[in-house]
């Protein structure tokens, strides 16, 4: 169950049952498995330090280069952070920043034409619509049951920043991305937050390229600002249906204005 880190054909239900011949285990996979096992067992937890590369290499009976290949994978996947030197900050430390790994994965898959841009946009529509509706629902239950409402201050601070008139279009777009991410964070779903960070990363190049096709940036940015406020207003008003519709139209509107047709 822990062995299919790299291989794992997507649609092969019975691959795991009955292996006719171990297809040559690779040394770096053993390291990955070892770390994953310790993670699952709880021997390793966020904040802990991994043994040094040389120690790990001796412990598992593999070369240091193999250990390093595994650590590199863990680093890109957002599971560890490495620092040279000495002291409490040095070494490989277990962290959890899934956004980075998601971003790398999506960006490269888009580059390799594995992920069509339209699919990314469609997925964004689904996830962000749900996020907006969930937030509105949460506001609703917060009122009814007197519990804490989701925290939208980060998102609204970003909207305030976007009101600045001297923002360049790319700066505006960066804040726009951060706003959408802030909504996901407010929903409290780590998986969606990381996924949305990745999705955004995957189409960042296209979003920037799309800027060139916009004839009247002042009008467009004004509209985007208004739409953003409208989304937050709907959430604050606990109007899930409106929140869902508005964010859906907001996203598909931008891509329709540039050049992508999500065909939804």
């Amino acid at each position: 169950m822990l062995t299919d880190v790299a291989a794992a054909s997507v649609a092969a239900p019975f691959d795991e049952l009955g292996e006719p011949s171990p297809p040559v285990p690779r040394a770096w996979q053993a390291v990955l498995e070892h770390v994953e096992t310790q993670l699952v067992e709880g021997t390793l937890a966020p904040g802990d330090r991994l043994p040094g590369e040389r120690a790990l290499s001796a412990e598992l009976g593999v070369g240091r280069s193999s250990v390093r290949e595994a650590l590199r994978v863990l680093e890109v996947l957002g599971l560890i952070r490495t620092h040279a030197g000495s002291g409490p900050n040095a070494g490989a430390i277990i962290i959890s920043t899934p956004g980075g790994g998601m971003s790398a994965l999506m960006r490269l898959q888009v580059a390799a034409r594995g992920f069509p841009v339209a699919d990314i946009v469609r997925t964004r529509l689904i996830l962000e619509s749900s996020v907006a509706a969930d937030l509105a629902d949460a506001v609703d239950t917060a009122r009814a049951e007197h519990v804490d409402a989701p925290d939208l201050t980060a998102a609204e601070r970003l909207l305030d920043a976007m009101d600045s008139p001297e923002l360049s279009p790319p700066e505006f777009l960066a804040l726009d991305a951060a706003f959408h991410l802030a909504l996901a964070e407010a929903s409290g779903n780590q998986v969606i937050t990381a996924t949305m960070a990745g999705l955004r990363s995957g189409i960042e190049g296209y979003a920037l390229a799309g800027l060139a096709t916009i004839s009247d940036w002042a009008a467009t940015s004004t509209r985007l600002r208004r739409e953003h406020r409208g989304i937050v207003d709907a959430i604050r008003a606990a109007d899930a249906a409106a929140a869902r519709t508005r964010i859906h139209d907001h996203i598909s509107g931008y891509y329709a204005e540039t050049f992508i047709d999500p065909a939804h």
Copy 2:
């Protein structure tokens, strides 16, 4: 824009503008960037072969081990496949199997407690509900406009296989996972397909563990079979609302029966 493969703080909108000091570029990142650039430019496309490790190392002026670390990352991310030996099949070849990378990412993030299981389940609910509704809508428009309807034969073949009475619970669960994946594939959205493969992978251990808490497996498996057929029926009937509701209840029902409370 291509430099933040590994770092990439999720919520730092202005990190890209104005770098006070390049935080020591790492050799393997240069390799990753090189490949990504060629991918974006189209110099490299799926099916192409990368230069050999030694050639790449010489070309970029880095050591072979650094090249290998980058290739390892690309392999885990599902971008290349490597074969030793000689001939047209050997070397590193650009492919695109995002499912494997997603699975590794999600599984490890769950293990490292970065992704709560409840968040994974919630995300599954969102994505699969949308997939089912989309499929039903597609069936509807296929009828109206006389175009091809989504292909559900793969999913139904899996359902037939699940009718076999001598399946062990883990085998049943494997087919169940494949069925849900087949629905995503039928929807044609690569991003959702890969993401769902990853989500499923992340909670596979928990799903298997949940089997132990089920008192009457015969009754449960019968119910699951009936629910699966009901989902497909709703899709075939072009009833998007029913499809959405049924798959939602199907998923949340299983986790409620075991031990996870998605609290949705």
